[in-house]
Point group: C2
Chain length 320, copies 2
């Protein structure tokens, strides 16, 4: 792999915090280049079995979300929005050989599912980042478009994360490496968040705001829910925790943002998290809106991101 | 929900550590019985929309694994093994309304997928345990049949977990509840593990052994792999960690066993973990056996569990 980059690109890749010229996606692993083959096991792709630069070299936007069906729907939506010439029926799941994740390519846009929780998204991100690296991708923007629980905001609101925080409201991610705990920053790209917030101003039929996003390891006990199989705290204690989160600036809770922010930051990917809220956790624990309402809510981040991508590509917006 | 149990069953349910008469699946949540409706959101089931006792009341064995395709294959295999009268084509994904998990029922056996990692399996377990509770199930055995990386044993070996340990080789699971960390025991059912090991003695074409199973939050940095997008330790350090794990009794590594053991133990489910190893981590990091070899490996825990279930049900074994 040592020869995969032209000599001229090397200095730019080493300067990962500034943005001079092309910013290549890079790995932070001195061993990778010496591998004869890299099998991206959970994506069912590999450097010997696939021509990754030819398949993915033009990728500029990567959109990821938990649910495979939702990421397929997003791919179909983007296909329409970008008015691509190839038939919609030709859009195939690139990871069809595995059921761990799904992946679709729509021109310069990749749409990928990541399952639920930090470990699941982390496996996908390791292999996605290596894929983008092997494919010599540059200037890639990555956005997680997900669902979440809101705190003190109307259900259906879209939250653009200004800071991803852990269960203790700290903007950090604790990565266990062997038997050591390493603390990583979860800083996201501020300019990108601002650009997304500006885009949202043209969409009037739902509220979009910026706020901290809390990332937990658990949907029930870790998020103060009273409706799990296990619950050892009182209603008051649970509510107090959510209120303290609100006072610390948290506006929504999900289960992937901290590791997503930490890994993208280390590998030269400008990253954002845009999640719709399906309920207000100060009001209830259960998600029980009618199916069609939830489906419409889940389209909101997709509409915002489509607008953003079209703006970046200089395409005229005909919708919303 | 207060009336869902006949009065006679109440004393038995409170005695969860012994096994006198019927052992009902129970929840450890004082709030659940006062809920008017319980929506099991990620399973697309609920107490008002589904007759859970009628649908699931006879369940005695729950088998779970990460991959939806694998758990469908297991369901089809069990259908054949149990020689059920209903047509194989009638076997439907009970959770078809969602793509988070899949679920199949084969007589007294449930086959469910749980995705990858502690958070993903934990969401499924909360909702599965509530399902079994609402359905008034008793004497339920639950077995995770998964894939794993082996340490110091031949690829294709099946490991029955005698102890689920964390990244620090400790038999415990740290559950974050609100902003507190609570340590839970990961003890599994010893008699069940022994019964499974006895079953394995009749299967001569692959080795089965008992050993500790290490559960990590991450597939790459957390398991000492040199082939992730990020790697900050030396080859020697990584190998030293795996050798220390081996010396502590660890024979395989996966990503779900600690939370699985902890939650099942608290809710009256006799639990076991049976995983096949796809590689020996003392030899390599990448999984690159041919597809058909990996497929055959993944059938091994299924064959063992089928043998066990048929033995429990008093059915004559015609295979293996």
């Amino acid at each position: 792999m040592a020869s995969i980059f032209p000599a001229s690109s090397t200095p730019m890749r080493s300067d990962r915090n500034t943005y001079v010229g092309k910013c290549f996606v890079h790995v932070e692993n001195p061993y990778l280049d010496s591998m004869d083959e890299d099998v991206l096991y959970h994506l069912d792709l590999g450097t010997k079995t696939h021509n990754l630069p030819a398949m993915f070299g033009d990728v500029k936007f990567v959109c990821i979300g938990g649910s495979p069906n939702r990421m397929k729907a997003f791919a179909l939506f983007m296909h329409k929005e970008l008015r691509l010439e190839d038939a919609e029926e030709d859009m195939k799941d690139i990871c069809a050989g595995t059921d761990r994740y799904c992946m679709y390519k729509i021109g310069p846009v990749l749409s990928i599912s990541h399952g639920m929780g930090i470990p699941s998204i982390s496996i996908m991100l390791h292999e996605l980042i290596k894929l983008l690296y092997h494919a010599r991708c540059c200037d890639v923007t990555i956005i997680r478009i997900g669902t979440s629980g809101g705190i003190g905001i109307a259900p259906g609101s879209v939250v653009i994360t200004d800071e991803a925080v852990d269960s203790f409201f700290k903007p950090q991610f604790e990565q266990i490496i062997l038997d050591n705990i390493v603390t990583r920053s979860t800083e996201l790209d501020k300019e990108l968040a601002e650009e997304l917030l500006n885009c949202s101003k043209d969409i009037s039929d739902f509220p979009t705001l910026t706020g901290h996003t809390m990332c937990t390891y658990d949907f029930y006990e870790g998020q103060g829910r009273l409706d799990g199989a296990l619950c050892s705290f009182s209603r008051e204690k649970g509510l107090d925790y959510l209120k303290r989160a609100y006072n610390a600036g948290v506006r929504n809770i999900e289960m992937e943002s901290t590791v997503f922010a930490a890994m993208c930051r280390l590998c030269g990917l400008k990253a954002a998290v845009v999640c719709v809220t399906l309920l207000d956790r100060l009001e209830c624990d259960q998600i029980n809106f009618p199916h069609d309402v939830l489906v419409e809510y889940q389209k909101r981040p997709q509409r915002l991101i489509s607008k953003f991508i079209k703006q970046r590509l200089g395409l005229r917006d005909q919708t919303s």
